[in-house]
C-alpha cells in the first residue's frame, strides 16, 4: 500500500524532494547489443544472506550475493519500514529478479548473468557510498560485467 501518495504528506514531500548530489558530469557508457551483455543486479534493499550481519543503519558498504544463492537465503535488512515487504516475502524476484535474468539469458535476450550480485543500504548518504561503489566497479569488471540493473525499494 506504500505508494508515495499513501505516506503522510510531510514524508512524501521529503522523499520526493530528497536532496541529491549535484553531479558535474553526465557519464554515459555504451556497449554491445543486449544479447551480448553480461548483467549483474545491484540492489539498494539492504539485502543480506541469512546468518550474515544485517545492515545496522546507514552502512555505506555493500554485501555480496553469489548467483547460486537460494531464495530462502536472502533477507531484507533495510532500515526503512515504509515500503512493502510482502511482495518480496512471496517472491524474491519482486526485488531481486535473478530468476528472470536467468530466463532472459536462456532465451538469448541477454548474453549471460553475472557470477555475483550486490546490495547496498539505500537510505545511506551517497557520499560515503562513493568509494565502495567505485571499488565495486572493479569487481564487476573482473567478472566481465558490462551492464548493471539497479533495483531500489
Amino acid at each position: 500500500m506504500t505508494r508515495l501518495t499513501d505516506l503522510p504528506p510531510a514524508q512524501a514531500k521529503r522523499l520526493a524532494e530528497l536532496e541529491c548530489p549535484d553531479f558535474k558530469t553526465r557519464p554515459w557508457v555504451t556497449g554491445p547489443a543486449l544479447s551480448r551483455r553480461r548483467v549483474a543486479i545491484v540492489s539498494s534493499a539492504g539485502l543480506v544472506l541469512r546468518g550474515e550481519d544485517p545492515f545496522r543503519g546507514r552502512d555505506p558498504d555493500y554485501r555480496v550475493i553469489p548467483s547460486e544463492t537460494k531464495p530462502d537465503e536472502l533477507l531484507i535488512s533495510h532500515i526503512s519500514i515504509n515500503f512493502d515487504r510482502t511482495g518480496f516475502q512471496e517472491d524474491w524476484n519482486v526485488v531481486f529478479p535473478l530468476d528472470r535474468l536467468n530466463e532472459l539469458a536462456s532465451e538469448g535476450s541477454i548474453g549471460s548473468v553475472a557470477a555475483t550480485h550486490y546490495s547496498f543500504m539505500g537510505a545511506t548518504d551517497p557520499a560515503p557510498m562513493e568509494p565502495h561503489a567505485r571499488q565495486l566497479a572493479g569487481r564487476l569488471k573482473s567478472d566481465q560485467v558490462d551492464a548493471v540493473v539497479l533495483s531500489p525499494v
Binding site: 548530489p21 519500514i81 516475502q89 529478479p97 567505485r134 531500489p152
Partner: protein, 243 residues
C-alpha cells in the same frame, strides 16, 4: 540509487535503474531509468507473475541499447495487478481485537497469538519454499518473547552478543512482522499488501502491542530507543494515536 548508477557509469559500467519515485530520479538525473507505477518495495511489480516481471526487467534493459542519452527516464505504464484487493482472502483466525490493553495484557496476548499462527506459517513455508524470518537470529517464539518483554515495560538484555538491546529489538520486531504477514498470506488467495497490513495493524494483538511499544519507547529517556520507536516499529502510513 541514482548516485550509485552515476558512480558505476563513471567507472565504465553501463547502468539502468528502476525508479519508484520519479521526482527523485528527475533530480538525480541518472544515465538511464525506467519509472514504474508500483508501490514502494516492488520495483519489478507483482509477486508470482514472471511474465509481468520480465516485461519490466526487459523494458529497463532495453534502455541500454538506446543512443539518445544521457539522461533517459522512461515510464512503464502498466500497473501492478496484485495491488487490487482479493475478496476471497480470509484473514487468519486470531482472538478478537478487544482485550486487556495494558503492557502486560498485550504481551500475554502477543505470546498466545504467535503459536496460533504456527500452522498457517508452516503452510506458507511449504507453499513458497522459504521464509524471510531470520534477521534477529532468534526463533520466532524467542523474538516474540523479546518484543513482549519490551511491551511489558522491561528493558531486557540482548540475547545476542554484539547486538545492543535496541538494535535487537528492531530486528525482532521485523521478524515478528514477517512471521505474521507470511502466515496471513498462506493459502490460494492473493491478498494485497493493504489487506495484509490492515489485518496486522488493526486486528492482531501483535499490531496493538507494537503500537503500545512505540508509544512507550517514545516516552523513554533513552535516545536510541526513541529513534527505534519513531522510525522502525510502526510504518509512517500506519502511525496513529492508541488513545
Amino acid at each position: 540509487m541514482g548516485a550509485l548508477g552515476h558512480y558505476l557509469e563513471e567507472e565504465g559500467i553501463a547502468t539502468v535503474g528502476i525508479s519508484l519515485i520519479r521526482p527523485q530520479t528527475e533530480n538525480t538525473k541518472p544515465p538511464r531509468a525506467l519509472w514504474v507505477p508500483f508501490e514502494l518495495g516492488r520495483p519489478f511489480g507483482p509477486p508470482s507473475d514472471p511474465v509481468f516481471q520480465k516485461r519490466v526487467l526487459l523494458g529497463a534493459l532495453r534502455l541500454l541499447e538506446r543512443d539518445s542519452g544521457p539522461v533517459i527516464i522512461e515510464d512503464f505504464t502498466e500497473d501492478d495487478p496484485r495491488a487490487q484487493r482479493d475478496p476471497a482472502w480470509q484473514p487468519p483466525a486470531v482472538p478478537a481485537g478487544a482485550g486487556d490493553n495494558s503492557g502486560d495484557g498485550l504481551a500475554k496476548r502477543l505470546g498466545a497469538e504467535i503459536p496460533r499462527l504456527q500452522d498457517a506459517h508452516r503452510r506458507w513455508v511449504a507453499q513458497n519454499g522459504r521464509t524471510t524470518v531470520g534477521l534477529s537470529g532468534l526463533a520466532v517464539s524467542e523474538a516474540g518473547h523479546y518484543v513482549a518483554e519490551w511491551v511489558r515495560g522491561k528493558s531486557p538484555p540482548s540475547p545476542r552478543e554484539g547486538y545492543s538491546p535496541p538494535l535487537l529489538l528492531r530486528f525482532a520486531v521485523d521478524d515478528v512482522k514477517a512471521y505474521y504477514l507470511e502466515a496471513a498470506a498462506a493459502g490460494t488467495a492473493r491478498p494485497s499488501s493493504r489487506q495484509l497490513g490492515d489485518w496486522f495493524w488493526n486486528e492482531s494483538a501483535a499490531g496493538s502491542a507494537l503500537y503500545a511499544l512505540r508509544d512507550a519507547c517514545l516516552a523513554s529517556d533513552d535516545e536510541r530507543l526513541k529513534l527505534i520507536a519513531g522510525n522502525f516499529i510502526v510504518p509512517a502510513a500506519r502511525v496513529r494515536s492508541t488513545g
